[in-house]
Symmetry: C2
Subunit: 274 residues, 2 copies
Amino acid sequence: LTFTVMIVGASGLGKSTFVNTLCESPVFPKKDYSNPEKAAIERTVAITPVTVDMEEDGIKLSLTIVDTPGFGDNINNEGNFLDILAYIERQYDDILAEESRIKRNPKFQDNRVHALLYFITPTGHSLREIDIEFMRRLGRRVNVIPVIAKADSMRPQELAAFKKKVMEDIAYYKIPIYNFPYDEEEDDDETIEENNELRALLPFSIVGSEEEVVLNGRRVRCRQYPWGVVEVDNSRHCDFSKLRYMLLSSHLQDLKEITHDFLYEQYRTEKLSR
Amino acid sequence: LTFTVMIVGASGLGKSTFVNTLCESPVFPKKDYSNPEKAAIERTVAITPVTVDMEEDGIKLSLTIVDTPGFGDNINNEGNFLDILAYIERQYDDILAEESRIKRNPKFQDNRVHALLYFITPTGHSLREIDIEFMRRLGRRVNVIPVIAKADSMRPQELAAFKKKVMEDIAYYKIPIYNFPYDEEEDDDETIEENNELRALLPFSIVGSEEEVVLNGRRVRCRQYPWGVVEVDNSRHCDFSKLRYMLLSSHLQDLKEITHDFLYEQYRTEKLSR
Ligand SMILES: Nc1nc2c(ncn2[C@@H]2O[C@H](COP(=O)(O)OP(=O)(O)O)[C@@H](O)[C@H]2O)c(=O)[nH]1
Ligand SMILES: Nc1nc2c(ncn2[C@@H]2O[C@H](COP(=O)(O)OP(=O)(O)O)[C@@H](O)[C@H]2O)c(=O)[nH]1
């Protein structure tokens, strides 16, 4: 079983930490920013896929994570956006080329991006122009799943209000996102219920941590502050565990199917009609 | 006694909350983002000074706060920067014009900016290109005091490491900031010691809050999370009280003198030599 997820958002929103938390291993080691010259070089690293072998519910999963250079950090960010879009479309072009070959390539690998996690800066206000622009343009090519980064910087009422505003912006600006579709005819009540519950949580609030602490006898992934401890897997603290379950388990297949049957087909039609 | 401070940084970094916390009154009411159309309009509001009458250590202070539209939110941010620089220079131009008048204007008001608080996004990495560029260019015209916004989103070791990296970047990129200068000859040991302590805290970590809660019988300004309570005035939680004291009390005079004797003079020389 294979699955590819791309991670997009400004530098410092906890994306590397999230990936390491998701995969339960240091997939992206801590970058070295201690040296300003080195930091400048690290910032311009290109888009790099990394594959991790995992097991979910007893099923082996080869998960490919595509990290993207922190965007939104520059005075002008159009270049970053175009690189990301080009990467996504290149994987579609490879499929297109392979489809048209008379002699198939037996070693061919499908590297299409099945989901793009877009990390929203927890401003507490509404989506920024850069978020609207990027999600709207990327949403035509890939399943965009908006997440609120560093959700532990928001109080519960701020988080609830922010989620509501972000979803209003997404509707208002007609930003296409993955919204847990179901088939009234085909899906059973339990599936419909699950989809409604997950959609109601959007955008998912994320807290990531590679630190483990023993709390009340259990090992817990958390962020320890002088004033308290935020638990990654505690659904009263954030939606991390729900996001992980839907991405790697319950909705993995649907994300792949939509990519193949709809998003890829859309690209193919547009490209062949030019 | 008058003093003007400008507040600069991306939207959602808690700038309005900080001002309200500093002045202990709702100087900047909560903006209305509930309506996407309204939010878009609010975002483009121009640079607006607001004056608040306060009392510090029994001394009456007329504090002018200059809010700037959230910058760094756009795909291209050069326009925002130019507006801020233009505002600062316009106040110098007014002084220049008044200096040259034969018949003085008795109602003339000195609106020069004495300190600019630059809100750094708490990424945990290093300064972003936009921070380096803006602080370096603004630092030539005004006393720039870097502060780390939403410091409660960082664990103590992350905050200490980030402060260190930011100061290394400031040195490496030669960013001029207000760094608590003292005169070996003129200043007494206590003043030198105080300046060294304040400089060692840079950039100041900020947490703001308009909410008050009773904790252990005292009224405390704080942010209440499900996992604990962050106290604004607790120096183990952030540097807010130290920043407030130096800005409105101990270093107010020095910031005004540097603005008048050095930064304004620099501008005047450059402008008259063109
Ligand atoms: N408040 C908060 N900080 C986090 C979280 N996850 C990571 N961080 C911290 O944010 C900083 C940047 O994290 P990193 O994963 O390198 O972010 P990236 O640049 O987006 O990859 C580090 O100091 C992390 O420890 C989180 O969920 N909440
Ligand atoms: N974590 C954290 N959030 C804050 C802090 N100060 C304000 N906020 C929240 O951040 C959001 C934006 O605050 P606001 O003052 O409007 O930011 P501004 O856009 O920079 O003026 C609101 O939800 C605030 O409650 C702080 O010190 N820490």
